[in-house]
């Protein structure tokens, strides 16, 4: 998970907060969390986006019921297993586009949040 601030800098700000009467828990919520939030956010996006390509757990829990719990990644898997390569390719295109968008959004967002804090 990318952190906007190295831990030592964060530790310094926590000391500063303590000299300003902030109790440890208070300092965590008022200082540490807001300062780490860009990192938490930009770390969470690829984390959640990753599930779009997941199929093992999705199959076990969701059951791959057509029209209900069948997801794109499962559809691609089905086509690959039945050797329908070209259909699988066509479905993989949007998936690739989606992945690109996620990475782009994360990069842009992180840059913006970083700039705000510097």
């Amino acid at each position: 998970m990318p952190l906007v601030l190295p831990p030592t800098v964060l530790g310094f700000y926590l000391l500063v907060a303590a000299t300003l009467r902030a109790r440890p828990l208070d300092a965590f919520f008022a200082v540490a969390l807001p300062l780490a939030s860009p990192g938490i956010l930009t770390g969470a996006i690829p984390g959640f986006a990753h599930t779009a390509g997941e199929f093992g757990v999705v199959l076990m829990i969701g059951g791959n019921i057509p029209g209900q719990t069948k997801v794109l990644s499962m559809a691609i898997l089905d086509y690959v297993e039945t050797l329908q390569w070209s259909t699988a390719h066509q479905l993989s295109g949007p998936m690739l586009g989606f992945a690109f968008c996620v990475i782009l959004a994360t990069t842009v967002l992180e840059k913006r949040l970083r700039r705000r804090l510097r």
């Binding site: 907060a17 303590a18 000299t19 300003l20 902030a22 804090l117």
Partner: protein, 229 residues
């Protein structure tokens, strides 16, 4: 006469510190000595950020922050700490930075508007720290420390990270501040010119030790360096 009494001794890393002094309850006491002699460590001990084997600190007979039995954590000590480096919270505006300590401290009559006027901060209130010059940042940091309603103001070379021009800009503010304040200030510095200009009392430090006996320096109202304990 009540006075600030401090005595800290112990090892920190490979460095042996044994420092004791008593300072009057008014005015600016400079902790003066060469770089690396332990001045900052003493300040951190007073604020409770550092804990040595032996420590004693009291503001008066009734307000003891630390002795052989008790150790108040930093957030329960009424200090205003001005750090050497930029310490403003980057995610908060100047106003929110100034109010950070004020919101959390028991009111001792240090008023927001007065501090803003005294330090000339009114133009800066809406900005974020990233949009301030080095001198402006340090002025805001001083204001924030004051608004945390301290019984004691600790300043750790607040000017050392600044260039000549910013220093000259901030010094008159400090002088005005010290004249207006009724709380004691401990000011760490290795710059004799700064000490001469700002300090009323002097404690000399070398290689982790305070000198024994009184040390008088010309130009000060009175100067002491006393070992206690």
């Amino acid at each position: 006469m009540t006075r600030v009494e401090a005595h800290f001794s112990g090892r920190i890393g490979g460095f042996a510190l044994d420092v004791g002094f008593a300072a009057p309850e008014t005015g600016v006491t400079a902790l003066f000595g060469p770089s690396g002699c332990g001045k900052t460590t003493v300040l951190r001990c007073i604020a409770g950020l550092e804990r040595l084997e032996y420590g004693h600190f009291s503001l008066s007979a009734t307000e003891v922050w630390q002795d052989g039995f008790r150790f108040l954590p930093p957030h329960r000590r009424a200090v205003g700490y001005v750090f050497q480096e930029a310490s403003l919270f980057p995610h908060l505006s100047v106003t929110a930075n100034l109010r950070f300590g004020q919101k959390r401290a028991a009111d001792r009559g240090i008023v927001f508007d007065e501090v803003v006027t005294l330090l000339g901060l009114s133009r800066l209130l809406g900005r974020v720290p990233a949009r301030l010059s080095g001198g402006e940042r340090q002025r805001v940091a001083i204001g924030r420390a004051l608004l945390s309603q301290p019984r004691l103001l600790l300043m750790d070379e607040p000017l050392s990270a600044l260039d000549r021009i910013s220093k000259d800009e901030i010094l008159p503010y400090l002088e005005r501040l010290y004249d207006a304040l009724s709380i004691p200030v401990i000011y760490v510095s290795h710059d004799l010119a700064e000490v001469e200009r700002l300090a009323d009392h002097l404690v000399l430090l070398s290689a982790g030790r305070t000198g024994r006996g009184a040390v008088a320096v010309c130009g000060f109202r009175w100067a002491t360096s006393v070992c206690v304990g």
